[in-house]
Every structure is written in structure tokens, then in C-alpha cells.
Symmetry: C2
Subunit: 209 residues, 2 copies
């Protein structure tokens, strides 16, 4: 007869991967979510692009030299990486593992391609058990295509054809929702944050697969 | 371009099956959970045993004549049934479907054998899609075997050997947790109810399998 918990097995640190089509309101939602708990941290990714004014190394991004980035790619240090407009972007396995080892939940906000790469690695039998057991992904969607168009137009900073392209891309991205474990409709910011918090709490109770 | 929601697919009425070893505090927990939402109803089961004082037909149980019960078993009306101490107990498929058709979530509190029978039916390809898509199961555990013993002893109504048997059975039942999607530790009543509410909310966002 022991005083130890019988069932500590479902509770584990989580790697929560979040994607959304452009205009779904992912950034704000993610910030509000992170503000809910000190045990939930944001996964800072690496890039080879130059820091913009106001960006801090290690907070906005880890800013790496291209040679350093490429070397780490070769070493297999990245959970995922991509080259966009001549710059590299990627997430180090170590960033995620460091948080999980501390018992913290970590959130990655990443596009559908990056999420697909991470999902494949995270759920492979060779994955670090901390990552495999903690993995969960969430797709954020606006409540309707009409709202999506409104949000993409509402920025007011882009030409109509740019908006049209972005809308078309977003509609294509929406189709990828079937790859995710959860779908959160961002109809109301507070309600959507509530759903994210509930998903996180439920995942802590869920038997890992 | 439509005003219809893009992603109504994850949201669906849920059949939540809850089991617990004796002494885990399932009954109180379940009552508190049900009190949280009018959209969450309790699955009233059928029995052939006589009503006890204070029990109402259709609320505590649907009280059936044995001939009626046996006929319905033969018709395949039951999602699960069992004979205990000479009486039949069972859950009608129709009870569950009626709630789901109304868009209500329904909770069944049932032992591990009954839950196993329901799980097999619910997740079979032949199952009614409402049941298959809405199915989720939860195992409730006390925080430790020491607490379990305390709770089983604390009732003060049974002989030591009865308690010992019940404790042994409960410890055997605990082993069945691996069959369930979720495990909720009932360390603190309010916290445990919060976990159940989170699981329900997360399941509404989860892509059905």
C-alpha cells in the first residue's frame, strides 16, 4: 500500500502545435493563451534573417548566421525548418526538449507545412518519448469564410490582388484541418482562449498514444 | 463565399462513459459534473430489480419486468447489459440516441465490464455514427491506494473482510485504466469536476476518429 499516486501516467508536459490560415487570428489568440499560465511557454524559433527594430534575440527569434543554421540542419538539430524568401526559419529540437524536461508545456505557432513535418517526427517510433507523448496539435479557424475575407481585407495595408491571393491561400490551408487533433473556432477571443485552456487541461488527462 | 461556419465538423453531441473503482468517488463527482450544464444529461439505465424506497421510475432507473427485459435483449435494444445477483441491468441504445439526437451530451456511469462492452459496440464500423463520433471514455481514480483504502473503510458500514475484498477488487479495476481515453484523478472534488468540464469542452473541439 503506497501513498504514491496510482495514476501519474497521463500527466506529462505537452508540446502543443498550433496552425491557422492567415486571418484566423492566431497571433492574438496565442498571446492571450500564453498569458493564462506560467507553465505554458512559447517556442522561440531560429532564423537567418536580420532582426527588425524592436526584435530581441532569444525572445522574438534566435538569430543565427546562415553557416551556423545550415550546419545544425546537417546535424539534425531541427524539428522542422524551411527557407522562405531566401531566409531560413526553424525550430530546434533542444528548444522544445528543454521546456518539456522542466515540466513546462510548450506552444509552437507554425504553418501547416511545418506542422506536418513536426507531426511526422513527433509521432515516429524513433522520436524522443518526451516529444512523442506530449504531442498535440490544434487548428484555429475563423468562424466563416466571410469573416476570413473581412479580416484579410480589414488590415487595409495591401492591394486587392494581394488580398485575393492571400484569401485563396487561406482557403487552401483550411482544407488541412483534417490533419489536426483539435479544431478551435475563433469566433470570440475569450471563448476561443477558453477552448485552448480546456484542450490543454484535457490533454494532461488523456492517455498518451 | 458563404456565411456558414467552415468547420462545424468537430462539434457533435458526446456520449461520455465514466468508470471508476469502488471508492474513487464517482457518484458525487458525476452529480457535480451534471450540475454544471443543462446540455449534459445522465443516462438512466434499466433494471429488473424492485424499486427501493425513494427511487422513481424513469429517473433512478427504468424499472422493467424480466420478460420485457429479456425480449429487448433478444431484439438487440441494449448497448450493454449484465445480470448481477439475479437482476438484470442495462442501457438501452435508444436512451443514448434520444439525447444525442437532441444535441445533448450524455453521461453513463458504468463499471469496467459494461464500459468495455459499450466501447466495442460504439467504436465498431457498424455503430450508429452519432454514437461512434460522440464516444469518449473517462476513468476516475483516487489519488492513491492509501486514500482508496481510507474511503472504502470510512463508510463504516461493512465488515473488515468485506472491505478487504472490495479493496482487492478496486485495485484490480484500477488496472483497467489503460482502456480509457482519459484518466481523472479525484484528489479534490472541484478540481476533478474542472477536469471533466475541460475534457467535455476539448472533446467538442476534437476531430472525431
Amino acid at each position: 500500500m503506497s501513498n504514491e499516486p496510482i495514476m501519474p501516467v497521463t500527466d506529462r508536459p505537452l508540446l502543443m502545435v498550433m496552425s491557422a490560415p492567415s486571418g484566423a487570428g492566431k497571433t492574438t489568440l496565442c498571446q492571450k493563451w500564453l498569458a493564462q499560465s506560467e507553465r505554458l511557454v512559447y517556442s522561440v524559433s531560429c532564423t537567418t534573417r536580420k532582426p527588425r527594430p524592436g526584435e530581441t534575440d532569444g525572445k522574438s527569434y534566435h538569430f543565427l548566421a546562415e553557416s551556423d543554421f545550415v550546419e545544425r540542419v546537417a546535424r539534425g538539430d531541427f524539428l522542422e525548418y524551411a527557407r522562405v524568401h531566401g531566409n531560413y526559419y526553424g525550430t530546434l529540437k533542444e528548444t522544445v526538449l528543454e521546456a518539456l524536461r522542466k515540466g513546462l508545456d510548450i506552444v509552437m505557432a507554425i504553418d501547416v507545412q511545418g506542422a506536418a513535418a513536426i507531426r511526422q517526427q513527433a509521432l515516429s517510433p524513433d522520436a524522443d518519448p518526451l516529444i512523442r507523448n506530449g504531442y498535440a496539435d490544434i487548428f484555429v479557424v475563423p468562424p466563416s469564410f466571410a469573416v476570413l475575407r473581412e479580416r484579410l481585407t480589414g488590415r487595409g495595408t495591401d492591394a486587392p490582388d494581394v488580398i485575393a491571393t492571400r484569401l485563396k491561400n487561406a482557403m487552401g490551408e483550411v482544407e488541412r484541418w483534417r490533419e489536426y487533433r483539435y479544431v478551435v473556432v475563433n469566433d470570440d477571443l475569450a471563448a476561443a482562449v477558453g477552448r485552448l485552456c480546456a484542450i490543454r487541461q484535457a490533454e494532461h488527462c488523456r492517455r498518451s498514444v
